[in-house]
């Protein structure tokens, strides 16, 4: 069994109109090497499901987003994701499902458990219910009779994740302090592709390290070795996010032809050129972890 493949193989498996979930959280551990490969491809009309970071902004800027399912889009240190903001303010994102972060998690969880929905209070009495008329409520069948939102399963065609370590069988390790919700994305998806800083032949771990494995390999369709594949987002414990790159990216959103210039400089030339233009492995490997 060998699940190794390239980012081109992953994007080759994508189809127009697919619902794609992106792991990570805001500017943290996003599968950016795969995102850049999507940007180089003709794939379009995507339903993007994410705790949004720069992947949301970039896919919006490239006109690949038909629908966005999200709770936020942010670069943290730059609070407002520049291209998400631009797309929203231009009225370009016409299909939106804006959800509470917890509802979002519930939707992924329901999908992973093959349930049609999970009940929650989150979202009641807010515009989340008003703006998403597809959300239904359900009354508790027990004596309390409480009315709750029936958060529908967020079923994904594909989940795209980035982790620290993988092996050719599809075993994965997240060595940073927070696994986020990657495991739920993996469970919610028909196919799950994972890029990793390092892909080993076979993980052989001690008990403590094995706890960094957050989902089972049977969920993993393919693994891609992509060193610095989360850049410009962070990949703790390997490297932090790249503030100077984020600033350059954010500034481009305010410039005439800024997105095209960004694509020409950082996307079109490919991953090797991308790393070179960001200072090469010597710099990328030493980007400091953010201090909160």
């Amino acid at each position: 069994m060998d699940k190794r493949m390239t980012t081109a193989d992953v994007v080759g498996a994508l189809r127009d109109g697919m619902t794609i979930g992106f792991g990570g959280w805001g500017p943290r551990r996003k599968p950016m090497a795969i995102v850049r490969e999507i940007l180089r491809s003709p794939v379009k009309d995507l339903t993007v499901v994410a705790y949004g970071g720069p992947e949301v902004g970039m896919l919006c800027a490239a006109g690949k987003v038909r629908k966005l399912v999200f709770g936020f889009a942010t670069l943290d240190a730059i609070p407002l994701e520049p291209y998400y903001r631009k797309a929203r303010e231009a009225g370009e994102l016409t299909e939106l499902m804006e959800l509470d972060e917890g509802m979002f998690q519930w939707g992924l969880r329901a999908a992973g458990m093959r349930l049609p929905f999970l009940p929650t209070r989150c979202g009641l009495a807010t515009d989340v219910v008003k703006l998403n008329p597809e959300l239904r409520t359900i009354r508790s069948p027990y004596d309390d009779g409480e009315v709750l939102i029936a958060m529908p399963a967020l079923k994904l065609d594909v989940a795209l994740l980035h982790v620290n370590v993988a092996d050719r069988l599809g075993n994965t390790l997240v060595t940073g302090p927070d696994p986020y919700f990657d495991h739920l994305f993996a469970r919610a998806a028909d196919q799950c592709y994972v890029s990793a800083e390092r892909v080993e032949e076979r993980l052989q771990l001690d008990a403590a390290s094995a706890r960094s494995n957050t989902f089972e390999r049977y969920l993993v369709t393919g693994v891609v070795e992509a060193p610095f594949g989360a850049h410009p987002t962070s990949c703790p414990s390997d490297y932090g996010w790249d503030m100077s790159h984020f600033k350059r990216y954010a500034a481009s959103a305010g410039e005439e032809g800024g997105w095209q210039a960004y694509v020409d400089e950082f996307v079109t030339p490919g991953e090797a050129a991308y790393q070179e233009r960001n200072g090469g492995a010597a710099r990328l490997g030493t980007l400091p972890l953010p201090v909160f």
């Binding site: 959280w25 949004g52 999200f70 709770g71 936020f72 889009a73 942010t74 609070p79 407002l80 998400y84 903001r85 929203r88 303010e89 231009a90 009225g91 016409t94 804006e98 959800l99 509470d100 972060e101 917890g102 509802m103 998690q105 929650t120 209070r121 989150c122 979202g123 009641l124 009495a125 807010t126 515009d127 989340v128 008003k130 703006l131 409520t137 009354r139 009779g145 409480e146 009315v147 709750l148 302090p177 927070d178 696994p179 986020y180 919700f181 201090v291 909160f292």
Partner: protein, 266 residues
Amino acid sequence: MTEKTDFTLAELMIVAASEAWRGDGEVLASGLGVIPRLGASLAKLTHSEGLLMTDSEAFLVEEPIPLGPRGDYQPRYSGWMPFERVFECVWGGRRHAMIGPTQIDRWGQTNLSCVGEYAKPKSAMLGVRGLPGNSINHINSFFVPNHGRRVFVEGEVDMVSGVGFKPERWNDGERSDLMQIRIVVTDLCVMDYDGPARAARVRSLHPGVSFAEVQEKTGFPLIAAAELRETPHPTADQLALIRRLDPHDLRATAIKGNPPGIRPAV
């Protein structure tokens, strides 16, 4: 304490913010942003040691972590609290968060999503984030660094992201009894929603600020608390703790112009 102490408005607000958590016992205190975080840290170090706090990433700490670059400071962890566990905490109700919404209305409803029409907003903000779930499940307080009618809007907030006390927003069978708004700390005053029928009420005015000015800068009618007083000044001990918690003086950038705590007479 009668000695004269110099302090900034930010420091006055940190002390006011810390009061939000008084008496909460063992709950997760989440102060988002410089002043709320320093307020939560000060609360834990002074009157509310039972509070739980994190390193603002994924670990629990019993000693609040100073803001900014840490130098030789090594955090000591008492537990693990990744996002998934924070959600569990939210749903169980054992949390009191203080955040800075973009808009707040007379019903205590808050907006973090967008300003203007939803389909094509004048300003797209963060998104609702965890506000719908936080607001309905646990105690919340708010922080407003620029008290004005853009924040405290006349009608409803443009996109209701956090629940409030507007009866029309609640349908039969929905539980509105788990939510709680504690206080709103602004650069002018401390408010709550404990007036008649949950009306917004001014509890204390910062030094040199009048009720009339606060009302003028608020888009909806306010009530003055019967015991309306001046917001307490920070003590020397509190100021020393604040300096220790914020060694790089990030609080100096939290309020525009970093004004003094006692407004100079004009």
